[in-house]
């Protein structure tokens, strides 16, 4: 299935491995991505708290470009981008006056025909259709599925059904052989955009999430959002400093977990880029020597 | 020639707007004399044909008014009426009948002032539009009287 693709800034920067792993698993999942030409910033996280029009105009331009390129569905892996694009589509659908106003600003025709999808829903759908029989190395570990905020809020845009206790990622993880744990912080706030400005707050909030996952026996935390990943992975030192505990639990993108289960080389999946070393796949017989190396590297952004 | 004085017919429900107009009276508020009220139990009773009949009998403007949604004495008559009005208005507009001559309103039994304002406003608007000569008329009392007087004159 061919599907539009909007990487946004993080998939080219801090979460390159999300991008890499999505692309790596795409063929097996029966997905083909077409990047939106000439795309721009989605506006997150500042625009909507500063300028109402700008907050809608930026995503609207992206959607208009996707429309122009003949796309029916647009995969937006970053949850923040997803939220902005989906919210814009929703508001413009509801409010004809606003739509007119925004069309005037972006000076492009806009119909709202492009469906905005996040990685979780696209991968769930693709897994159901295409993964059967392809799992060669079941990811047999206890995982804490962490949804964060944007996949479940606001309810009008939520793609998960039980928004306070979503199950979609848990089900997907079962498909690739993992054992999702029942835990309390699936949809708690990680601190998100305060990562840089108030690292102390992020350390507190994300610390609680990690603590609960660890205490309930999770071996990995699975996420679908670059922001969550940054806070849980990159801010680990700050978290440990504040909680006076050490946590070795790695944080993986769901695409990386699927990739591992498909037997894809960890380096291809970008596992070596993580701050917290990833010890998967653990000494499996056909694991390449290469795949063990990355865990020694710290946030190796060397290529 | 004296200024044109329009004839405005108001179809009102007994429980809200008629009572509201009573309150206008007890409060001694003044409004234009041009309005003639047809009292009905409920806006639900107002057949759309009555409006055309009013135009056909010389009305230059029409007011239809009843209870606010939720206040209907019969609990839902006004909701049913509102649906009919929605379609009827679209049809009149499509047929080229000037909707500035047909006004819909909710006036409660407590809104004496709103009634006075409404009547004045509609009368002023219709006065500005002039007599509704475009709309074909029936032979009615006045035209009959005119006819009679012509004959007598002969």
């Amino acid at each position: 299935m061919k599907i539009g693709f909007y990487p946004g800034c993080s998939l080219l920067g801090s979460s390159r491995e999300y991008n890499e792993s999505l692309k790596a698993i795409a063929p097996a999942m029966g997905l083909e991505f077409a990047e939106v030409p000439d795309w721009n910033c989605c506006g997150a996280t500042a625009a909507h708290s500063l300028d109402h029009q700008l907050a809608f105009a930026l995503p609207a331009r992206i959607l208009a470009l996707a429309e122009k390129a003949g796309m029916e569905e647009l995969l937006v892996p970053c949850s923040a981008c997803f939220s902005r694009l989906a919210a814009t589509r929703y508001e413009l659908q509801k409010n004809a006056d606003l739509r007119k106003e925004i069309i005037d600003i972006i000076e492009m025709p806009y119909q709202g025909t492009v469906k905005v999808s996040n990685a979780l829903e696209v991968l769930c759908r693709a897994a159901a259709a295409n993964l059967n029989g392809k799992i060669t190395k079941p990811f047999a570990h206890k995982v804490a599925c962490y949804y964060g905020c944007y996949l479940t809020r606001p309810t009008e845009l939520a793609t998960c059904k039980r928004t306070e206790d979503p199950q979609e990622m848990d089900e997907l993880m079962k498909v690739v052989g993992a054992e999702p744990i029942d835990w309390a912080f699936k949809v708690e706030c990680c601190g998100a955009g305060l990562s840089v400005s108030r690292t102390d707050l992020v350390a507190g909030l994300s610390g609680k999430i990690i603590k609960d996952a660890v205490h309930r026996g999770a071996e990995a935390i699975v996420v679908a959002c670059p922001m969550c990943h940054t806070n849980l992975d990159l801010r680990r030192d700050a978290i440990e400093a504040q909680s006076h505990e050490r946590y070795s639990i790695p944080v993986l993108y769901l695409s990386q977990v699927i990739g591992l289960a498909l037997g894809i080389d960890p380096r291809t999946l970008g596992l070596h880029r993580h701050h917290v070393p990833v010890r998967f796949p653990d000494a499996a017989p056909n694991a390449s020597a290469d795949s063990k190396k990355p865990e020694l590297q710290l946030s190796g952004k060397d290529d | 020639m004296a200024e044109f004085e329009p004839k405005v017919v108001a179809f009102v429900c007994n429980w809200c707007t008629y009572a509201g107009a009573d309150l206008t009276g007890t409060s001694r508020m003044k409004y234009a004399t041009n309005v003639r009220m047809i009292r009905l139990p409920c806006t639900g009773r107002i057949d759309f044909m009555l409006l055309l009949q009013a135009f056909g009998h010389g009305a230059d403007g029409i007011i239809v008014s009843g209870c606010h949604p939720g206040d209907c004495h019969y609990s839902a008559g006004n909701f049913h009426a509102r649906r009919r009005w929605m379609l009827f208005r679209e049809l009149l507009d499509f047929a080229g009948i000037d909707l500035r001559r047909v006004h819909f309103s909710w006036v409660s039994a407590a809104e004496g002032a709103k009634w006075a304002e409404l009547v004045n406003d509609v009368v002023n608007q219709v006065r500005a539009l002039g007599p509704y000569d475009e709309f074909p008329k029936r032979l009615n009392r006045q035209s009959l009287e005119q006819l009679c007087s012509v004959e007598v004159g002969r």
Partner: protein
């Protein structure tokens, strides 16, 4: 030929101040059909009314127009005068010269012209008036009370004590309702069962009350004074006449692990059971879904031990048809279960309970004998958190209303807990404290000040488990909006009061309206709070909106007095302003084509199907028929009817056309 009399009132100077009444009378005299036209200072005075009465007789009037004040003021007066003068009262109409003319216009020729027009309009209308006669319907002086909670009990007793028959229908095996489940009642802390059970017994023993428990309303037809109800008596599987209520059967019943509804699933019962020891009637029923004999075909132990041989496994549901004149709906409420709250674990934590469950824990007759214990492990909680507004006032959860009783019972719960567990800590999370009621605010203050319950103003965002504790995460908005966390052993949610799950179905059976929350709608929120928009059906208690016991009892007594008022006459008389379906001669017999599109437009479900048959019983056609006992005369069907087969007496199409033609 019509002979119309016109009477112009000066109303002192109220009308004559701006309208030239003599001129109006003079012009009116010339209208076709007018044979008498006078003006007078005060038409509503005795001499004024005599003018009308005399003219009716002397001039043989066939219609009267009184041009005076608003018909909403004096129409009854002048109609009565006409009746006394020998004219059908519905041949009298009023032109509103005061409120709609003299008071709202200046003294100008146009004002007098308008007055003349108003008279002319009414003359044209009254010419087409037909004599109408009040509609009399007999009244069956028996009331049907649906629901045997405190609302139904109060209403039934009041009606019965007024000397009328009452049929009470309760769907559970015992009357008593939710009030029987409560421990103590605010603000006096008197024991709920102690005040309720004597009333339950009174119902059972009252000579005027017939009680059907384990029964439901199946069907309701008819109209005010003349309802016909079908009641389904579910099979109790016992012969009530033989059963003495000795209780041997439920002591012997082997299936003892069924969760008790009365104990809110915190205790158990047997398959043959009475819901609680003080049940009325105190005779068991067999719950067939859990009875081994009904499920597996073997057992019959109760039958073996029953000393009076009262067990009847082959008993069938029984349908009873009764005629009643009035219905009181007192079907009560439900509370939302804890699984309604995703943020509090979707009901997965056993120590998060509802307020109603807490009542059972606190009740001396409850599953723990009144000791507050955790359902999970039976430990006495050292810290307990109460969360008010669980679901209520939360549009995101679809419940935007206030459940009204939670502030008070939460205070009561916290107080009871502190009385029972002195060293325990109690927290109450609240949005606002609504303690409007006699001694209510004082009660809450006592909870806070004397019993030292910690009130935290803020919402709880999440509850999760950590090391055997329930972590309650919320915010204290009074402490600079700081997030707070409490490690509790038990959490009590004051879950929203909601309509019964089948409230909508019941409303449709009774053909009454209900609101978006499925609570039954009263006819007018202020002035007709216990009547429903279908005449003859009344409402009491929490099936109409959340309310506490005193309010429920007050409403039930009010409904009972309405019923007693209705039953005080043998016949009901009402204005004949109703819709009628016209009938014509053969071959059509009626212009109605039986499309019945009017049926759903009628706010009162007054439109019925009538079959026109030949003499030998062959169906010619089915046409609409208006039930005149039910019709309130709004005329919505009249405007909808394409063939104009329906007309509204008093406001006929002909009359309104005549008014328009006379413009």
């Amino acid at each position: 030929m019509p002979r119309i009399g016109v009477f112009i009132c000066h109303c002192g100077e109220n009308i004559s101040g701006t309208v030239d009444c003599a001129e109006v009378a003079k012009v009116s005299a010339e209208f076709p059909g007018v044979v008498h036209s006078v003006d007078y200072k005060y038409m509503c005075s005795d001499p004024g009314q005599n003018l009308i009465k005399n003219a009716i007789q002397e001039k043989k009037l066939t219609g009267v127009v009184v041009a005076a004040c608003s018909p909403r003021m004096h129409e009854p007066t002048f109609r009565r005068a006409c009746a006394e003068g020998g004219l059908n009262p519905f041949l009298c109409e009023m032109a509103n010269l005061r409120e709609h003319c003299s008071w709202v216009h200046e003294k100008l020729p146009a004002t007098t012209e308008k007055a003349i027009d108003l008279v002319r309009i009414m003359v044209e209308k009254v010419k087409r008036n037909r004599p109408l006669f009040s509609i009399n319907v007999p009244v069956t002086k028996t009331a049907l009370v649906l629901g045997g909670g405190i609302a139904g009990i109060q209403a039934a007793l009041d009606i019965a004590n007024a000397g009328h028959k009452v049929i009470m229908v309760e769907r559970q095996a015992s009357i008593g309702g939710h009030m029987a489940q409560l421990s103590e009642t605010f603000p006096t802390l008197d024991c709920s069962q102690c005040i309720l059970t004597p009333r339950m017994v009174e119902v059972a023993q009252h000579p005027n009350i017939t009680l059907y428990t384990y029964a439901e309303l199946e069907k309701l037809d008819g109209f005010i004074g003349n309802f016909r109800a079908v009641i389904r008596k579910k099979a109790k599987s016992i012969d009530e006449k033989l059963c003495t209520g000795c209780g041997v059967c439920f002591q012997k019943c082997p299936n003892k692990k069924i969760l008790s509804e009365f104990n809110t699933h915190l205790g158990t019962r047997t398959a043959i059971y009475v819901p609680f020891p003080q049940a009325v009637p105190n005779k068991p029923v067999i719950d067939r879904e859990h009875c081994m004999y009904f499920q597996k075909g073997k057992c019959r132990i109760c039958e073996k031990f029953c000393p009076t041989k009262a067990i009847r496994f082959d008993q069938q549901d029984e349908l009873i048809e009764v005629n009643v004149g009035a219905v009181v709906a007192a079907t009560g409420y439900e509370v939302k279960d804890t699984d309604f709250f995703p943020e509090y674990g979707y009901g997965k934590y056993p120590d998060i309970i509802t307020g109603l469950q807490f009542e059972r824990l606190a009740s001396a007759s409850g599953p723990t004998g009144g000791v507050i214990k955790r359902p999970s492990d039976g430990r006495i909680p050292e810290t307990i958190a109460f969360i008010a507004c669980a679901g209520s006032r939360d549009p995101a959860k679809g419940i935007s209303y206030c459940s009204k009783i939670c502030c008070m019972y939460t205070a009561k719960h916290a107080m009871l807990y502190k009385h029972k567990v002195h060293q325990g800590k109690a927290y109450v999370f609240y949005m606002d404290i609504r303690a409007g009621g006699k001694m209510y605010e004082e009660f809450v203050r006592r909870t806070i000040e004397e019993d030292e319950v910690h009130y935290v103003r803020g919402r709880v965002s999440r509850i999760y488990d950590r090391d055997g504790k329930l972590v309650v995460r919320g915010v204290d908005t009074l402490l600079n909006a700081k997030p707070i966390e409490i490690e509790a052993d038990m959490v009590v949610l004051a879950t929203a009061m909601v309509a019964q799950p089948d409230a909508e179905e019941l409303a449709q059976k009774m053909k009454v309206s209900y609101d978006e929350n499925k609570f039954l709608s009263e006819a007018h929120p202020k002035l007709r709070p216990v009547e429903m928009n279908t005449a003859g059906i009344f409402v009491a208690g929490a099936c109409q909106a959340p309310k506490d016991i005193p309010e429920t009892v007050a409403q039930a007594s009010a409904a009972a007095s309405k019923v007693a008022g209705l039953f005080s006459k043998d016949e009901l008389s009402r204005e004949p302003v109703v819709a009628v379906v016209s009938r014509t001669g053969p071959p059509e017999f009626s212009n109605c084509v039986g499309c019945f599109l009017c049926e759903s437009a009628c706010p009162y479900q007054a439109i019925e199907h009538e079959e026109i048959k030949t003499r030998d019983g062959k169906l010619i056609k089915t046409v609409a028929k208006i039930n005149q006992g039910v019709c309130q005369g709004c005329g919505t069907c009249v405007a909808l009817c394409r063939t104009k087969s329906i007309d509204l007496q008093g406001f006929t199409n002909e009359q309104i056309f005549a008014e328009l033609v006379s413009l």
